[in-house]
């Protein structure tokens, strides 16, 4: 049963914002849904879910061993979703990879599709540093590291292979088993009706313009910031001030050195050009 949609992104690329939009669209209430709504649908790499579904403590397995079980974890999740007659929308930061048995972590036979959120890596670098309360140099290094990964230590989430920014995008774009819809963060900000609407169409949901407009208003970035200020948000790191930070385009200009910009651009040039972050003349568009 193809009943899981993967909401995929490098960290801080609009994934959570989109989940709030989708939640509003599906609920279709006059009032905005609260952040609690998406707190109850954890990330695909949630370690508690792993232990409860697989019956093994993931922190007593190596990351590679955990990856053996992840396809089955999602198959079991799909069975549960099938009983409930619904579709599950699961956030993930994993690159599209195979485990040591050459099996994709995200099985095709249970997947309805994937929405990939892509954001200018220069802004990702800055926003991710704020989120993880690390020096920008750390996230800068991460974005260029083909072996970059998240979590998977002694607690928290399962290990997620990120790879470099360009390889993460490529891994999903080049796989052929799962239908994928690419969405630019910048388009979500600048052309919300067309962009969010395209995802609704891709997901096969009923397209209703009034509902779409309401869901966009009810998941406005500033509104999410206010909700977080008021009630907190459990996806924020403890030492980070705000999960919903600036949300703007081109923030990197305030934080990255010329050398850092040059290195990120050089390393990710082709992918950045493909997604319009570099123009035909080789200049940054933002």
């Amino acid at each position: 049963m193809k009943n899981i949609v993967w909401l995929v992104s490098y960290p801080k690329s609009g994934n959570t914002w989109f989940r709030m939009f989708l939640s509003n669209y599906l609920k279709n209430t006059a009032e905005p849904v609260s952040l609690e709504e998406i707190e109850s649908t954890p990330i695909a790499s949630n370690a508690v879910d792993f232990e409860e579904v697989i019956g093994l403590n993931p922190f007593e397995l190596t990351a590679e061993e955990v990856d053996f079980y992840r396809p089955n974890m999602y198959r079991i999740l799909s069975q549960k979703v099938e009983m409930e007659g619904e579709t599950s929308y699961k956030k993930t930061h994993d690159a599209y990879t195979l485990n040591a048995k050459d099996e994709p972590l995200f099985p095709e036979e249970i997947t309805r599709g994937a929405v990939y959120f892509v954001r200018n890596p220069l802004d990702v670098c800055v926003s991710f540093a704020n989120h993880s309360t690390k020096e920008i140099q750390n996230t800068f290094t991460l974005l260029l590291n083909e072996k970059a990964s998240l979590a998977g230590n002694k607690s928290g989430q399962l290990r997620q292979m990120l790879m470099s920014w360009k390889s993460h995008v490529q891994s999903w774009r080049e796989q052929t088993l799962i239908p994928i819809h690419m969405v630019r963060y910048e388009d979500m900000l600048q052309s919300p009706i067309a962009t969010f609407g395209s995802v609704i169409t891709f997901l096969g949901l009923e397209y209703d313009k009034a509902r779409l407009e309401k869901a966009i208003i009810n998941s406005d970035f500033k509104l999410l910031q206010q909700m977080e200020q008021k009630n907190g948000f459990n996806e924020k790191m403890q030492k980070c001030k705000n999960f919903f930070w600036k949300g703007t385009i081109g923030t990197y200009r305030e934080y990255l050195s010329e050398e850092q910009v040059k290195r990120i651009v050089d390393y990710n040039y082709d992918a950045m050009k493909e997604f319009g972050y570099i123009d035909e003349q080789g200049m940054l568009t933002v």
Partner: protein
């Protein structure tokens, strides 16, 4: 039945369950000493992979569960079969190391044995503090073992790590000591200022170690207070005494390997009654600690709740 060598070690007991000693048996073919925290009729090894169970109630590619039969396959370690709460059969995989087999035997497999014996196992660490039986439950990675170790440095007496069976009889609810060994990460040893004197690793690839127990309690002890430990992203601690159905549901969520019960509906029914009794007799407090915080600070917060 398992094929291959079979060592049957029988301990005549009034009840077929835990005593204050461990079950040791040596398996010559595999040159392995298994150490199981509760008494069993037999732990045997099989050179052959197990045949799948016929029509199990719960069936996943790595796991099959029925009321009295259970098979779990752990990649590159072993397949385990548990029957009637009294027989464990192990089929080690090629090149598997004995530490890994031992670890899972004393974890997920022990959980299956306890469920088959219908002894309610909680996902938690137990210790005695000021004569009171304390059980700290919570998901893996919340710090149960670290805090238990900290208590044991400060007057507590260690009982169980990670899995704690509770006996509910009449109005009494007792922690059953099964003498699992406390497991601590390398950085936790440092934080607790415990010198790693060549402690045994739980697995060759994992930097977590068995802490040799200095003193541990071997008699059943009344369960006085059950703490459900969780983490949040705030800077302070939050404590919340649970009551009513919230308390019952929270207790149910602390059952070790609760998912096995999907294949064991009769066992689940017996737990239903036991949990209600437990909920009516035991104090239950949910404590949320900051994701990043000091182990002793958490210990002090729990102390306050116990003394309250």
């Amino acid at each position: 039945m398992c094929k291959g060598f079979y060592w049957q070690i029988w301990f005549p007991l009034e009840e077929s369950f835990a005593q204050s000693y461990n079950f040791h048996s040596y398996h010559q073919t595999y040159n392995m000493m298994t150490d199981f925290p509760i008494v069993m009729k037999g732990i045997e090894f099989s050179p052959d992979e197990f045949e799948p169970l016929p029509n199990p109630r719960l069936s996943f590619p790595h796991l099959q569960v029925d009321e009295r039969d259970f098979i779990m396959n752990i990649n590159h370690v072993a397949s385990f079969r548990v029957r009637d709460g009294n027989h464990v059969c192990i089929h080690p995989h090629e090149n598997a190391d004995s530490a890994s087999i031992q670890l899972f035997l004393n974890g997920s497999i022990l959980g299956a044995v306890l469920h088959q014996q219908r002894i309610l196992p909680f996902h938690g660490c137990a210790f005695e503090y000021n004569g009171k039986g304390i059980l700290i439950c919570g998901h893996s990675g919340t710090g149960k073992s670290s805090i238990t170790a900290a208590f044991c440095q400060n007057g507590g007496r260690f009982i169980n790590d990670d899995i704690t069976p509770v006996r509910i009889k009449g109005q009494g609810t007792n922690i059953i000591p099964i003498k699992t060994k406390i497991k601590l990460w390398d950085d936790t040893l440092l934080k607790l200022k415990i010198e790693n004197e060549n402690f045994e690793k739980i697995r060759p690839t994992i930097n977590k170690f068995y802490l040799p127990a200095r003193e541990s309690s071997s008699a059943e002890l009344h369960l006085y207070h059950l703490i459900i430990l969780g983490k949040h992203n705030k800077d302070g601690f939050e404590g919340n005494k649970l009551n009513g159905m919230v308390k019952y549901n929270a207790l149910r969520n602390q059952i070790y390997r609760k998912m096995y019960l999907k294949g064991m509906p009769e066992t689940e029914k017996t737990y239903f009654k036991q949990l209600f009794k437990l909920a009516s007799t035991v104090r239950v407090t949910q404590i949320l600690r900051p994701d990043i915080c000091d182990i002793y600070e958490t210990m002090n917060c729990i102390k306050k709740e116990i003394d309250r």
